[in-house]
């Protein structure tokens, strides 16, 4: 049996993920750390690299990095330091980037991913903190630089080459993003460049222990882009190797429009960054107490929360997954579930009507008008059969648009379910009278016709009849013996 070329090779993928931290100010100065200001307005002598200016470390940026390290199971370096990484580029205010070279804040750690139902551990090499650079725009014969972004605290998470495919890399990024969002260390907004990723990948004949020659891919702006670029690059490497060619260690650029990678620079052309200790900043010394303090602020992580949701609320793994994926949504669910007690029903409402309405209106759960207690009250009305499901959806929509209490809406709209047997009997008679053929079909045992008649009764009741009662009365009235 001949094996496909892809099966004869094993892929090894490692990522460098850059995360903009959610601090009020920049990493070395007091300028606001925010997106979308007019070009070169959030700047000062420090983040513009003016002569004589000096950096002063933003402690909060360090704390958020340590928090990330703790969430990801890293070892926190009690003593770390800053280094200058030297290279010229017009978007770099100082033409060196203050980063961390040999003593980063965090070492090791891992992220667990789910691949086809199997758990897999992707190891981390390190996490360090550095400064973001400005943004270049090139026009015909002219270039401009916006330095608003320069000095944004940027955390770099470096993984081991533990991922075996583009799918695994994507799963890693999604899992990482979920954790970062849980820790509130970053807004994780991809459109605003909060999360950016470089990829290292190589292929080796299956069974070989030594990694193949790697290439680095840059310029992916979305997670989908990372997946496509990796998929393309791994296939390119395998094709190259299959045809007896060799992989050149180089940096390649992803062209999202063309869907290809192309060589940017080889190892020989690689930068010599000439790292050395940053003399303008003191080393970062973290006391055990300060690390413990950050430890005490750690949120329950998504994985643990999913497991707890399954155990505590007895909801299916699928539900837990959907709810926990968004920390705010999960918080909402917990509040509503606690107020209700009918955990599965609340889950159905949140995953169904709520997510649909949020998506349709582009709203965030945090800005939702439906209070968790109101949703719980709605579930109770349904459980008590005071309202049927059609009415309940109408009430939900009303609450979503304008807020308010379900009971009040039910009363105001006359949506209370009719369970008065006499009233429903009259409607049943009316429906049978109007649809004698269907009635006959039911008598002949045709279930479908029963559904039709039931719909007619509900229509006549303007949706308010208790469907259970309608069904019972119809069956009673049209039983074969009747």
């Amino acid at each position: 049996m001949t094996r496909s070329p892809a099966a004869a090779f094993q892929s090894d993928v490692g990522l460098e993920v850059h995360v903009q931290l959610k601090t009020a100010s920049k990493i070395w100065c007091g300028c606001p750390n925010r997106y979308g200001s007019p070009a070169n307005s959030d700047v000062c002598p420090v983040c513009l690299g003016y002569p004589g200016s000096l950096p002063v470390m933003n402690r909060h940026a360090v704390e958020l990095t340590v928090k990330t390290g703790l969430m990801l199971g890293c070892e926190i370096n009690r003593y770390s330091k800053w280094d200058r990484k030297n290279y010229f580029y017009p978007d770099m205010p100082k033409n060196y980037q203050i980063s961390q070279y040999d003593l980063p804040l965090c070492i090791g750690g891992a992220v667990e991913i789910d691949i086809g139902g199997q758990r897999k551990r992707v190891g981390l090499t390190r996490i360090h903190l550095e400064e973001d650079v400005g943004k270049n725009t090139h026009y015909e014969g002219r270039s401009s630089v916006d330095f608003n972004r320069a000095g944004t605290p940027l955390m770099e998470i470096v993984t081991e080459p533990d991922m075996g495919s583009a799918d695994e890399a994507l799963a890693f990024l999604l899992a990482l993003k979920e954790i970062l969002a849980y820790g509130a260390v970053s807004d994780c907004n991809l459109e605003e460049g909060n999360l950016r990723c470089d990829v290292n990948c190589s292929v080796r004949p299956a069974g070989d222990t030594a990694l193949g020659v790697k290439t680095e891919i840059k310029n992916m702006n979305t997670f989908k882009g990372v997946h496509r670029a990796l998929d393309h690059e791994l296939k390119r490497q395998i094709a190259e190797r299959t045809q007896g060619g060799a992989i050149v260690q180089e940096t390649r650029r992803w062209d999202d429009e063309m869907g290809v990678t192309s060589a940017m620079r080889t190892k020989e052309q690689a930068h010599d960054y000439r790292y050395f200790s940053e003399p303008d900043l003191l080393p970062v010394v973290l006391s055990k107490e300060s690390i413990d303090e950050i430890s005490s602020t750690l949120p329950e992580l998504p994985k643990a929360r999913r497991m707890r949701f399954e155990a505590e609320y007895g909801i299916p793994a699928y539900d837990a997954g959907v709810l926990v994926a968004d920390r705010a949504l999960a918080d909402y669910y917990e509040a509503a579930a606690a107020a209700s007690g009918n955990y599965k029903a609340v889950s159905n409402w949140v995953m169904g009507e709520m997510l649909r309405a949020l998506a349709e209106t582009g709203t965030e759960i945090t800005g939702c008008r439906v209070e968790p207690e109101a949703l719980a009250a709605l579930v109770r009305l349904v459980d008590e059969k005071a309202i049927n499901s059609t009415g309940a959806k109408e009430v939900f929509q009303e609450m979503f648009e304008r807020g308010g209490e379900p009971q009040g809406i039910v009363e105001a709209r006359g949506l209370a379910q009719v369970s008065d047997t006499g009233a429903i009997e009259a409607l049943v008679e009316q429906a049978i009278g109007e649809h004698p053929d269907s009635a006959q079909d039911v008598r002949n045992g045709k279930e479908k016709a029963l559904q039709h008649l039931m719909g007619q009764v509900m229509r006549l009741s303007r949706g308010k009849a208790n469907p259970q009662l309608v069904l019972e009365l119809l069956r009673e009235r049209l039983s074969p013996g009747a």
């Binding site: 002598p45 513009l48 690299g49 003016y50 002569p51 004589g52 200016s53 000096l54 950096p55 002063v56 470390m57 200058r84 030297n86 010229f88 017009p90 205010p93 100082k94 033409n95 060196y96 270049n136 270039s143 630089v145 330095f147 010599d272 000439r274 790292y275 050395f276 003399p279 303008d280 900043l281 003191l282």
Partner: protein, 499 residues
């Protein structure tokens, strides 16, 4: 008050003028006008100033007079000072002696400038220097060399040559300079004024355009020790904007000027009195040390065994840091810009044409010692040797309270004499760079002259944050040796063979 016409404020010290001002015996405008007149008359020969805005200086002086009339009694209110062209002063040029910063106007005040302003000081003008403080003669300035007021055919020393020449030449009451490897002490010695290089971290570096960040310190150049104490007190203290500034209480430095140095042990390092030293310089320094002994100090011999490595270590560490510090001068955001085909080309051309020879030499040297494959052999080894040099001083200070030595192996040399031979120029820094490498304070106080009438300086080094002790010794010596030396005659015919 010592001699001279009442209107000759320019020949007075800061504390004298501050006294006249506070007693209402003159106005700040009188003082500033007199200094501007002196500069206009004599700076053509000395070339200490690179920027002077007489109108602004006078306006500031008038403002100080108005404030005083309204009851403002800050100690230095209305005292004008000269500033080395390496410190940012808002809305003033700051060229660092370089073409690449031509046209640059500072956006903010350096912290030490803010402190001086808070004390009431007004700013007279900007003083020449070796480009980016790289040099020991102030011949490496894109704006022409500064000359020694004692002999305008000779160098003023460097890199704070403009500051020292202005103070010695009576063109400034005092000046603020910076010292990375002797840049305050050596020109002070060459020009015959007092210069203090404070402990690393004593004075904020915020706003000082960096040459070598782990070595740079700001300090005063003054006519006497009392002024040095006065200004050091103003400049010193922790600054939130400089993480390397140290939170140590700032003493009242003038209280240390008791004249009493009895029982103090002064160490003479064997390695600082070696062959190659000008015999007249050595004789002056030994005579000064003898004066200290007569004042009750005990003279002991000490060893600083790693001194021979200091020059190599210094020129590796300083150039490595400088290679990164000077990267920001690229024409993108400020300063001169030479157009190019694309941004990268523009940066290359701007740096090629903007930097002078010595700066390029040091940037290339610094880039080399940090390069992959050479980093460990040069930069890392230099860092280890720096630790050894620091330990030399720790060891020495167990045996003595302060170290006394020459500042430089020679007095001021002729213009152009060493310019062609950078290594010779570097070797002249051997006695000053160790203090920067160790982070300890150093002071230069005039101690006589050569037979040519060229000033010689006595260097006093002490443990970190012991500036009080250095000032006390310098002051005791100054008083015992007859007080401040008379200034050089500045008549045009006394000018030397300078071009």
């Amino acid at each position: 008050m010592t001699g001279g016409d009442m209107s000759e404020f320019h020949s007075r010290t800061v504390h004298e003028v501050a006294g006249l001002l506070s007693r209402g015996e003159c106005s700040a405008a009188d003082v500033t006008e007199d200094l501007i007149r002196a500069i206009e008359t004599h700076d053509g020969a000395v070339r200490a100033y690179v920027h002077l805005d007489p109108e602004q200086a006078l306006a500031d002086a008038h403002a100080a007079d108005v404030a005083r009339a309204a009851g403002d009694d800050r100690p230095l209110l209305g005292v004008p000072l000269g500033i080395k062209d390496v410190l940012n002063v808002r809305q003033q040029p700051c060229t660092c002696g370089s073409r690449i910063l031509k046209g640059y106007t500072a956006l903010y005040d350096a912290t030490c400038i803010t402190k001086l302003r808070d004390a009431g000081v007004t700013l007279l003008g900007r003083l020449n220097m070796d480009e980016f403080a790289m040099g020991s003669s102030t011949e490496n300035s894109a704006y022409g060399e500064t000359r020694n007021p004692w002999d305008t055919g000779r160098v003023a020393g460097g890199s704070s040559g403009g500051s020292a020449a202005a103070v010695a030449g009576q063109l400034a009451l005092a000046a603020i300079g910076s010292d990375t490897g002797g840049s305050i002490r050596q020109p002070a010695s060459f020009c015959g004024c007092v210069g203090v290089k404070p402990t690393y971290g004593r004075v904020s570096r915020y706003g000082l355009v960096a040459f070598a960040s782990s070595l740079d310190q700001v300090g005063p150049l003054t006519k006497d020790v009392e002024d040095a104490a006065l200004l050091l007190e103003v400049l010193s203290g922790r600054d939130e904007m400089d993480s390397t500034s140290v939170d140590q209480p700032v003493p009242k430095y003038r209280d240390a000027l008791t004249g009493d140095i009895r029982g103090l042990r002064l160490g003479m390092p064997r390695e600082y009195f070696t062959e190659g030293m000008d015999p007249e310089v050595e004789a002056s320094v030994r005579a000064a040390i003898e004066v200290c002994r007569e004042q009750g100090a005990e003279i002991v011999e000490v060893n600083l065994p790693h001194t021979e490595y200091a020059i190599a270590v210094y020129y590796i560490i300083a150039t490595a840091e400088a290679s990164a510090n000077l990267s920001r001068f690229d024409g993108v955001r400020y300063g001169a810009r030479v157009p190019g085909e694309d941004p990268i080309d523009m940066v290359g051309k701007t740096r090629e044409q903007g930097f002078g020879e010595e700066v390029k030499r040091r940037v290339i040297l610094g880039t080399y010692v940090l390069s992959s494959g050479y980093h460990d052999a040069y930069y890392l080894r230099a860092q280890k040797a720096r630790t050894l040099l620091r330990r030399d001083f720790d060891q020495a200070f167990t045996r003595c309270d302060a170290i006394v030595a020459p500042v430089a192996p020679t007095a001021a040399y002729r213009l152009g004499e060493k310019k062609a031979d950078p290594l010779q120029m570097y070797l002249g820094d051997i006695l000053t760079v160790p203090a920067n490498l160790a982070g300890i304070p150093g002071l230069s106080v005039p101690c006589g002259a050569t037979t040519d009438g060229l000033p010689v300086g006595l260097q006093i080094l002490g443990p970190a944050f012991c500036e009080e002790r250095l000032l006390r010794i310098a002051h005791a010596y100054e008083q015992a040796s007859g007080g401040r030396r008379p200034p050089p005659s500045m008549h045009p015919e006394s000018k030397g063979a300078g071009s």
